[in-house]
């Protein structure tokens, strides 16, 4: 009877136990994929970000200075200056065991974060100059007062690097101990696609700002998505592939939340940023003037570390490295680490390559 029922099927090929085990594992993974996918769709939960405890030290308009809890075993405090606008700063404190700030505070650093805030239409008159000569000095001073230290290290990330470099060089009275540039463009002649798209012959920044007022978050998002049009496809493909892994899913949820929260640019800030930095490349040429003072990178005489990311298409290594030749200190180092603009500082790879390097370099000089 059995033979009559199963005459349509041929002999099943014999499978080795290893292949059987792997097929079973893949089947389990597919079940987990379906389970996690249905949870994501039917019962989405807001990911908890920013786990490291912190205290607001100072607030001015939209900007805030945060101090993070730490054992503070390292004498010299650290002021972290990220980009203004574009994205939220909780990427640096994304989740437990996935946070640059958590790592640095565990190493004993007294960590201060400049949170520029979310600017509205009423802030369209805010310029780069105002950010560098008014907001940043005030926050830096408050950080120094709060720490009780006599000197401070400054770490600028992305746009925060040229902004903080402009601040420290035009405020020589600020007691700068060490300076770190992490993925921050200094020579905008090698800044990649953004440099091409924002060139003065193809992009009229004055018309753009005069028409729109501020640069809406959607336009900022569009610009960054265009840099890597296949990013969403590969992200979703990797999500599907790793959907069986609950750790991956929670990491994805947190990163996805951040990746979809773009911030607008104040109009005048955008105008000066594009014109003076991208189009005229004034910083590396020594032509930039802030608050009546020339920004001269040779004024940076403290130890300097510049960190570039190999696959960075926002601030390619070619635009980060020139800081090393521009400063006059002898204690200077450039390192190029694996990763992109964000994965340099956030993610599994960052915890292996970037964080230990930055922490050890800074600790030895603090």
């Amino acid at each position: 009877m059995k033979d009559e029922l199963f005459t349509m099927m041929g002999e099943l090929p014999a499978m080795s136990p290893e292949v059987m085990a792997r097929m079973k594992e893949e089947a389990n993974r597919n079940l987990l994929r379906m389970k996690h996918f249905s949870e994501m769709v039917m019962n989405p939960t807001e990911p908890k970000v920013g786990p490291t405890p912190r205290q607001e030290i100072y607030r001015t308009n939209k900007s805030r200075l945060w101090r993070y809890e730490s054992r503070r075993t390292i004498r010299t405090p650290l002021l972290f200056v990220p980009n203004l606008g574009i994205s939220r700063p909780y990427i640096f404190d994304l989740m437990p065991k996935g946070s640059f700030i958590e790592y640095m505070t565990q190493q004993g650093f007294d960590f201060y974060l400049v949170d520029w805030g979310v600017f509205g239409e009423e802030d369209n008159g805010l310029t780069v100059e105002a950010a560098v000569t008014k907001i940043l000095p005030r926050l830096a001073r408050k950080a120094l007062e709060s720490s009780g230290a006599s000197e401070m290290s400054v770490l600028g990330y992305c746009m925060g690097a040229p902004l903080s470099a402009s601040f420290v060089t035009t405020h020589p009275e600020f007691p700068l101990k060490n300076f770190i540039n992490m993925a921050g463009p200094i020579d905008f002649a090698h800044v990649g696609l953004f440099g091409k798209w924002l060139a003065p012959d193809v992009f009229d920044v004055d018309k753009y700002v005069d028409t729109l007022g501020s640069i809406p978050a959607d336009m900022v998002k569009m610009g960054f998505k265009l840099l890597k049009p296949t990013m969403d496809v590969s992200t979703n493909l990797n999500l599907w592939w790793n959907l069986w892994n609950p750790e991956y899913v929670s990491g994805f949820n947190a990163l996805n939340k951040w990746a979809n929260e773009y911030l607008p640019f104040p109009g005048e800030f955008f105008r000066q940023w594009v014109r003076d930095f991208y189009q005229q490349n004034k910083l590396i040429k020594g032509e930039l003037v802030m608050g009546g003072r020339r920004v001269d990178l040779r004024e940076i005489r403290c130890p300097v570390l510049a960190v570039g990311a190999k696959e960075d298409n926002i601030a390619p290594p070619g635009c980060v490295k020139p800081l090393i030749d521009a400063v006059s200190t002898r204690d200077k180092e450039y390192v190029e680490l694996p990763g992109g603009h964000i994965s340099l500082i956030a993610g599994r790879g960052a915890s292996v390559h970037c964080w230990p390097k930055v922490a050890s370099w800074l600790a030895a000089r603090s």
Binding site: E26, T60, G120, E121, E145, P175, W197, V202, Y208, T230
Partner: protein
């Protein structure tokens, strides 16, 4: 096997992908100062063949995909996406693309500018008629508040400097 329907399908798809890429690159290369034509074969050939071999195996063997094949398929997709990313990056790095994008933005500004202004004026008039504050008024109020806060901060800075001088210390404010 070379003439099997599945193999024909694979060959046809491969031809379509290559022709599509060529057409895209020709489009980006049009206009004065166009970059020399890029050769998509240099991107595609190394792993298209590998991927097509895996795909053919799946189609012709008639068995359920093994975990190894799934991993290979994922690798093929990763490489395909990476290739597309490189092609698009090259295309978007051309002067022609930058000019086209600039023209499109300008067109958007030319269209949206007057429309935005007209809409704002209309809304202002309507809200004024209803006795309600407009966006402009609320923004102006917020701007005044920010300016007042800035003045207070400046006064605080000056006070800090004066107090530091009075105390005879190299002031906290003078340090920064």
């Amino acid at each position: 096997m070379a003439d099997s329907p599945s193999q024909q399908l694979v060959d046809m798809w491969k031809r379509q992908v290559e022709e599509g890429t060529q057409a895209w690159l020709r489009m980006m290369g049009q206009g004065p100062g166009a970059a020399p034509t890029m050769d998509p074969q240099s991107f595609w050939r190394p792993f298209m063949d590998q991927g097509m071999a895996a795909w053919s195996k799946v189609m012709t063997q008639g068995t359920a995909p093994s975990p190894d094949l799934m991993t290979q398929w994922k690798q093929f997709l990763d490489q395909w996406i990476a290739a597309w990313s490189r092609v698009l990056e090259q295309a978007m790095g051309t002067d022609a693309f930058a000019k086209a994008m600039g023209k499109q933005l300008e067109g958007f500004l030319n269209a949206s500018g007057p429309a935005k202004k007209a809409a704002e004026q209309q809304i202002e008039v309507s809200l004024s008629g209803l006795g309600m504050p407009s966006r402009t008024q609320v923004t102006a109020l917020a701007r005044h508040l920010a300016q007042v806060e800035e003045k207070i901060d400046t006064l605080e800075d000056k006070l800090d400097r004066v107090l530091s001088r009075l105390e005879g210390t190299p002031g906290r404010s003078e340090r920064a």
